[in-house]
């Protein structure tokens, strides 16, 4: 993928994440902060499908943006063909792993496994 395409995704995910995290924070303010972190309250959020979709989107946006940022930092620190390939694929794998782990939590909750 061309670097300009990657960076367009990088900027796009940053803007979208700011918007969705703002909605997420506003939703948290509808109830007391401590109350919103209670186990039952978190489970209820995961079971409310539109909100769960938004959380999933935030996870994807932040994972894509964050791991690309990490890739950029690492390739600026050290150079070399093998090193850069390892960094790129390593960050991609870590990003997929994090998204899979977060999605698993939401899916398991909705299937009644938690």
């Amino acid at each position: 993928m061309r670097e300009s395409t990657i960076m367009k995704i990088h900027y796009g995910t940053a803007l979208a994440a700011v918007a969705l995290v703002a909605v997420h924070i506003l939703m948290r303010l509808t109830q007391g902060f401590a109350e919103s972190l209670e186990y039952e309250s978190v489970l209820a959020n995961y079971k409310f499908i539109p909100y769960a979709i938004m959380l999933e989107l935030i996870l994807i946006l932040l994972a894509v943006h964050g791991f690309n940022g990490l890739r950029v930092i690492l390739i600026e620190l050290k150079q070399g063909r093998i090193y850069e390939k390892a960094v790129s694929y390593g960050c991609l794998a870590a990003m997929i792993g994090l998204i899979a782990y977060g999605s698993r939590t939401i899916i398991m909750t909705n299937m009644g496994l938690v």
């Binding site: 061309r2 367009k8 390739i75 600026e76 150079q79």
Partner: protein, 251 residues
């Protein structure tokens, strides 16, 4: 091994004196670099290059320094003067307001010896961005006029045409300090100079060239390059304008 030397004879009544510290290093023989100190006299018009040449003339002819035009046109005498990248021929001692003047080779360039650095990478990057007008119809046929431009079209790029390839911007760039493969502000600003030129038709090939993992996207807009340019070029702005082309804001 620091050395203190001074010119004692033929002192002018208006001359003042400073300590010039030159960082000496020969990669072929020395394990590490070290400063040598010289007491030198200066007048209000004396430049840093003048005092370095005085040192070569009176104290130590082995001090290596690259220079040519002495009028900020050739871009040969770039060095770090009191911690900032400057042209030695364009920096007066009296402007520095310091009794100690320290000169070091430019950062982010391999040292040949003392103050002389290798420019190969700078010139390679410059050459890579095709620093010339690209057109299919470069051969003029009879009854054809030269490529005319409006003053507004010239304004788009003219300041970037003032680049003298002295390398001070690359020396000041914080990205170049860690990313040895980064194309650098000099080449990027020159890429913009030709992309923004209404006569040029090579935009796509140039944009493709700088669109890689060590290309234009590695600039963090620190702006150091623009601060140190002795010719008033603003490479940081050129890079941001070039990004406008890459992101589709400009065409």
């Amino acid at each position: 091994m620091a050395q203190v030397s001074s010119i004692s004879n033929e002192q002018s009544p208006t001359a003042k004196s400073i300590t010039l510290k030159i960082l000496r290093y020969n990669p072929k023989h020395d394990e590490s670099s070290q400063f040598m100190e010289f007491d030198v006299q200066y007048e209000k018009w004396t430049t840093v290059l003048d005092v370095i040449l005085d040192v070569k003339k009176y104290f130590d002819h082995s001090v290596a320094v690259r220079y040519s035009c002495r009028q900020a046109t050739c871009g040969s005498c770039g060095m770090i003067i009191n911690g900032k990248p400057k042209l030695a021929c364009f920096t007066k001692i009296s402007e520095l307001n310091s009794n100690v003047v320290t000169v070091e080779p430019m950062k982010n360039f391999p040292v040949i010896r003392d103050l002389a650095v290798k420019f190969e990478k700078l010139f390679d990057s410059h050459q890579k961005i095709k620093p010339y007008l690209i057109r299919d119809d470069t051969e003029l046929v009879s009854d054809e006029k030269e490529f005319l431009q409006t003053p507004k079209e010239v304004e788009q790029y003219i300041q970037f045409a003032n680049c003298i390839k002295c390398g001070l911007c690359n020396s000041a760039c914080p990205t170049m300090a860690t990313d040895s493969s980064f194309v650098g502000p000099q080449a990027l600003a020159q890429a913009y100079r030709y992309v923004a030129d209404s006569r040029d038709k090579g935009k796509d090939s140039r944009l493709k060239m700088i669109d890689d993992s060590h290309g234009i996207w590695r600039c963090h807009f620190a702006g150091s390059c623009s601060q140190v340019c002795p010719k008033g070029v603003d490479p940081a702005m050129g890079i941001q304008l070039l990004r406008g082309y890459m992101l589709g804001f400009s065409s």
